[in-house]
Subunit: 351 residues, 2 copies
């Protein structure tokens, strides 16, 4: 009668099969079924194993995760919380690469990843916060420094392992920090522009205060001010293509043409590059333009964009590794993990 995937008679069909159903059909104890499901074949006869496996296949049995989770008080999943005002929070390539690295690391170790994006004011209502749904959290925050500090303190009070991405954490908070060396990368970029003759740099930043952007500003500012150059920051709304062009146009109208423009990321760098070209200023001969993060996008422009290579994927893997170690009770020495970045010189600054 049974067709493998079918769930048996109509009467049985009404509810999903449980381990008890399998045990009954195979005429063994639940413990034996549990051992088969979890591949503990230690002291089990070949015959028993086959009978159980047949029963599992016949019923189409899949263990219900919540029974196991409840018993072991582990959920075998990690939550990724992204605090962003934009509903397309995932569209940012940095976050996308980070999540990919985290997801792969966890999935390979049989952990799940639950993603949740939200606006800052909705944080307390988030299911991942309100309820205890995952074993640990990885969080990526945007917004004003004071608000972020408040959120970080709230996360610390949760009593779960938490990794904060792209941001330092207070000592003694019990939190972990994983980030790329935005400051050093930006400093190196500024040095490169300086070496190409730039004595005034315009930095394009989105209005929303991502901590990484703050670091990039600091890195460039320090280098340039130490060399008695001018450094100014232009706020560019949502950092999108149009907003960046508009803000840049206003800045140039007010302050004249700078010899170099640093985009806070590649998208802003390319927006600037194209706007300059529209105004008849070609990089690198008339003006120098750079981006940040190098997620394929840098190749799409003409000329290709000088940028800094981000290890976003590796940041995700690192965060996953830390959280799983903590959950397994392994010691994690360092609270702060800073991954190096690398300058990638393209046609937009190179002659």
């Amino acid at each position: 009668m049974s067709t493998g995937n079918s769930q048996g008679s109509k009467a049985q069909r009404s509810r999903r099969p449980t381990i008890a159903d399998v045990a009954r059909l195979a005429n063994v104890s639940q413990m034996t079924v549990s051992n088969v499901v979890n591949r503990r074949f230690g002291s089990m006869g070949q015959q028993t194993r086959e009978t159980v496996e047949k029963a599992i296949a016949e019923l189409g049995y899949r263990p219900h995760a919540s029974g196991r989770s409840l018993k072991l008080s582990k959920r075998f999943s990690i939550g990724m919380v992204v605090v962003d005002e934009s509903p397309t929070f995932l569209a940012d390539p940095f976050i996308t690469n980070l999540v990919a690295g985290l997801s792969n690391h966890l999935n390979q170790r049989d952990y799940g990843l639950v993603v949740q994006g939200m606006r800052a004011d909705h944080l307390p209502e988030a299911a991942l916060i309100r309820r205890h749904e995952t074993d640990a959290l990885c969080v990526f925050l945007s917004g004003e420094r004071a608000k972020r500090a408040q959120m970080i303190s709230d996360f610390a009070g949760l009593g779960q392992p938490v990794v904060v991405m792209q941001e330092a954490v207070p000592k003694g908070s019990g939190l972990y920090s994983v980030r790329q060396d935005d400051r050093a990368g930006s400093a190196e970029l500024a040095l490169h522009l300086h070496a190409r003759g730039a004595r005034h740099v315009l930095f394009l930043a989105p209005d929303v205060a991502w901590p990484a952007i703050e670091e990039r500003i600091e890195g460039a500012r320090t280098v340039l001010l130490a060399r008695e150059c001018r450094f100014s920051v232009v706020q560019c709304g949502d950092g999108g293509f149009d907003a960046t062009r508009t803000a840049l146009a206003a800045a140039v109208a007010a302050g004249g043409w700078p010899p170099a423009i640093m985009g806070g990321n590649d998208q802003m760098g390319i927006a600037a590059l194209k706007w300059c070209a529209d105004q008849g200023r070609t990089a690198p001969s008339d003006i120098l333009v750079s981006g940040f993060n190098a997620f394929e996008t840098w190749r799409y422009s003409t000329p290709s964009l000088t940028t800094v290579v981000s290890p976003a994927y590796e940041l995700g893997e690192t965060a996953g590794g830390i959280l799983l170690s903590v959950l397994q009770g392994e010691p994690v020495r360092r609270r702060e993990h800073v991954l190096p970045v690398r300058l990638k010189i393209g046609g937009s600054t190179d002659v």
Copy 2:
């Protein structure tokens, strides 16, 4: 003594507080605590409510999701399975936008989203498949048509609500299909190129057979063959920047310059555009080039790329809506949901 977030005495600290702890501290029944947690204040005194809320805050109590899930046999989460050979499966902007739409739709309704990317041969080992971890699934497949059909049949046997993205599903399978009208969009694009004088079109496709790419090929092919034009498909490896350029160069070397090139997506379109420019052929005067999907990228090229606007975010929302409806027992009329796309003409084909 208590500092709000603290968990009381050291003895208590060793385990996370449960609803029983709260009930004990507030001197009420667990049922009352449960009512407060779930905001059912029906027949409850103001006094009682406050006492319970104070106890919750003092203990830092958060309900454990698995207890509730087990009792209600609902997990309040949906799984997103992406079958892709690339570890950076999430880096594809289409998937990224889709996941963002799905995630937001679910999160707003207090459902979680579990993402899992995997290679086709690892599908059976995926936690989301092997165990019953989520209430429903949303799947996005790549690979050969026959393999995809096999996977789709496996998903149908799971006995959970499943939406398959960007691909038709067999009638009677019980699955749902949500996709954009790639065929119509591609046909419209082909008509546009034809109207601009192209009588031979080269289509750039990645080696991996995404169903959407197959649809785009069919849409363009039908239109062009009906008009006695030539239509050829060039396989471009992983569809990345370098692979696309290499494949295109080989195709042109072998067959000469076509009057028009259709990129399977925007990334491939821009790679083609730049390679042509490097060879001294400028769009749109020397050659016509188009992309597909219009996720910001199209603006980055010079000239901007003619493309087709994808409703990827809305596809994700639609999938979420269907799954939640099914889970709530609401009738979902249609098994197939095809969202319209829109031609977006850019400088790469327009004079």
